[in-house]
């Protein structure tokens, strides 16, 4: 059963009606098939209308939806022969960022991404996708490994941000993020990043300074959360919806600003309503980008990535 978001109330009411009718459907004296069909039609049209004009704040909620596919779902749906690798060889193994070797439609690749978890125990284990320095240092290690053996790097970004905590600061959260970003930019192998849910600030760019950056239709990517921005600039987090709109954090806005390279369509009603469809679309987009980057010399891959980021904001 889908958890409905605030702005989907009308759809939820229709779906409830449909379910009630179905329950009565056992009674052969009633002819309700037409009613059900009519309501289903209405419900899906309504959902399509709502999702065609989601506000940035509504998109933020979709991007955070608990049923939205996570790293492990993408790995299961897109990659074969998944071999997770662990640890930063320095302090520990951060479960907020996972990574490993995999085969993707005939290619050997390194996959790295945030995992938020999808129930209370797994969310605790993965720290809600908020990585600590050892997570970024693991990512650096895996990127270096991929670079040495010529494997393209695919990253899946989904984090509200890097973890704000005492130990994270003591172990150099800022330095770890800076070095991870630097490592993305130093790769001689192709790198494709996909913002699949939330692209939260430094915690996201550390895995997203890629040759090609994809973004799901209803994902968000921003320098600070709308709540954080609102509490600083409006002095109340109640203005999160205004902040989300002002910051232009939707895929559609970011494509216009040339911050991302391609939008990946989601099924009607968001990736969480038909995860396998969303996962397959993302796979096709990643394959397309890897095809475009394959066969290029290392210098060209690195130079193209550098030029792209050097021009960020030049208009």
């Amino acid at each position: 059963m889908t958890a409905f978001l605030d702005f989907e109330k009308q759809v939820a009411a229709l779906d409830r009606q449909i379910a009630e009718l179905r329950d009565m459907g056992d009674d052969p004296t009633l002819n309700i098939d037409n009613d059900i069909a009519r309501l289903e039609d209405k419900s899906s049209k309504l959902l399509r209308d709502i999702y065609a004009k989601l506000t940035p704040w509504q998109k933020t909620q979709v991007a955070r939806h608990p049923d939205r596919p996570h790293f492990k779902h993408y790995v299961a749906g897109l990659f074969d022969d998944w071999m997770p690798l662990a640890g930063d060889r320095n302090f520990g193994d951060d479960q907020a960022i996972l990574g490993g070797l995999a085969r993707f439609r005939g290619r050997r690749v390194m996959v790295i991404g945030h995992e938020k978890g999808d129930d209370i125990p797994s969310r605790m284990k993965h720290n809600f996708g908020m990585a600590k320095p050892e997570g970024y240092r693991k990512a650096i290690r895996l990127m270096q490994l991929a670079d040495r053996f010529g494997l393209p790097v695919v990253t899946l970004v989904d984090t509200s941000g890097a973890f704000p905590g005492i130990q994270a600061e003591e172990r150099g959260q800022a330095e770890a993020i800076a070095r991870s970003t630097e490592q993305c930019l130093a790769l001689g192998v192709p790198m494709v990043a996909a913002i699949v849910g939330e692209g939260g600030s430094g915690g996201a760019i550390a895995l997203a300074a890629a040759n090609r950056v994809l973004m799901f239709e209803h994902a968000v990517y921003s320098v600070i959360s709308p709540e954080g921005c609102a509490s600083i600039l409006w002095r109340t987090s109640d203005k999160a919806a205004d902040a989300a709109a002002a910051m232009k954090m939707s895929a559609q806005d970011l494509l216009g600003l040339k911050i991302i390279d391609r939008i990946v369509a989601e099924p009607v009603g968001g990736a969480h309503r038909a995860p396998e469809v969303a996962i397959a679309s993302l796979g096709d987009a990643i394959a397309l980008e890897l095809d475009g980057l394959s066969g290029l010399p290392r210098d060209a891959i690195l130079a193209a990535r550098e030029e792209k980021f050097l021009a960020m904001g030049r208009g």
């Binding site: 890097a162 973890f163 704000p164 905590g165 005492i166 994270a168 600061e169 003591e170 172990r171 150099g172 959260q173 800022a174 330095e175 993020i177 800076a178 070095r179 970003t181 630097e182 993305c184 930019l185 130093a186 692209g199 600030s201 430094g202 996201a204 760019i205 550390a206 300074a209 990517y221 921003s222 320098v223 600070i224 954080g228 921005c229 600083i232 600039l233 409006w234 002095r235 203005k239 205004d242 902040a243 002002a246 910051m247 232009k248 954090m249 970011l254 600003l257 911050i259 550098e306 980021f309 050097l310 960020m312 904001g313 030049r314 208009g315």
Partner: protein, 283 residues
């Protein structure tokens, strides 16, 4: 300003307060009054409690370059207000106010000069300009400063001070992190050193990019340096923060920086470092 203030300020005897302000400086740390002249001669460090006050590019260049002699490096103009951002005020109005208040175009300024006779480009981030926040203009200036250092074949020193990225430029401000990082990769390939001087405060996306990528990391005493804001951390973990948390000395203890250096010692320290790391000229 109300009409009353305007009239009052226009009166010759009303200027008394201004005179007092010009004569005395109240230390932000120990609250003691110090003669401005004495305070400035002491490099804007409180002679009573040794508090290193925040200073801008003009003061830095005067304090660090030999004889204060330097040549400003212009940065290409950056697109203004790319998002047409507005919160309780328009972003363009906030920029205008910051410009009027500081006399600067934006929060980052580069200059070329010499330290102990050795050429160097220094970039200074000014907290007084919108909290030193990093937007496209800061990124553009940072890149221009590094490129100038590469062209001259001299080291680059970044003096950082910022609350973080400039929210009013949204994800474009986040993109200045990789942008600055690319410039630094090129400096490294040119065989030139990159020295960071962290000053109070350096936090957020600035810390998580060029402020932490120095070949050598120096900080001024007691500077606040961190990724996450202290209130954010307290709200997340619901614990009191340890004494001295995110201060320069704390970072030194945790292996995050090489040294904490008093403002008086900076020219000498930087001069020696450049002597060790800058390419040696053929005799």
């Amino acid at each position: 300003m109300s009409w009353l203030d305007r009239v009052r300020n226009a009166l010759p005897f009303g200027a008394k307060r201004d005179t007092a302000d010009n004569l005395w400086h109240k230390c932000r740390q120990c609250q003691q009054m110090v003669f401005v002249k004495e305070w400035e001669d002491n490099l804007n460090v409180c002679p009573r409690c040794d508090h290193h006050d925040r200073i801008g590019a003009k003061e830095r260049f005067a304090q660090l370059f030999d004889g204060g002699i330097h040549e400003l490096i212009a940065a290409p103009a950056a697109p203004e207000d790319p998002l047409k951002f507005r919160d309780t005020k328009k972003y363009v109005d906030r920029i205008k106010a910051a410009r009027a208040q500081t006399g600067d175009r934006d929060a980052y300024q580069n200059a070329f000069g010499r330290i102990a006779g050795q050429g160097v480009v220094i970039g200074v981030q000014d907290f007084a300009f919108m909290g030193g926040s990093m937007g496209v203009a800061v990124g553009e200036a940072f890149v221009a400063g590094v490129e100038n250092a590469i062209k001259r074949g001299v080291p680059y020193i970044a003096i950082t001070a910022a609350g973080g990225a400039r929210m009013q430029e949204g994800t474009l401000s986040l993109m200045q992190m990789p942008r600055a990082t690319v410039a630094l990769a090129r400096l490294r390939r040119a065989g030139l050193p990159y020295i960071v001087l962290l000053t109070d405060p350096t936090t957020g996306g600035v810390t998580a990019s060029y402020a932490m990528l120095g070949d050598v990391q120096i900080s001024e005493p007691k500077a606040l340096i961190g990724f996450a804001g202290q209130r954010v951390i307290e709200n997340t973990i619901r614990e009191k923060l340890p004494e001295g948390f995110q201060r320069a000395e704390y970072l030194l203890d945790h292996g995050m920086i090489d040294m904490v250096v008093h403002r008086k010692e900076l020219p000498e320290t930087l001069g020696r470092l450049i002597g060790y790391l800058a390419p040696e000229k053929a005799a």
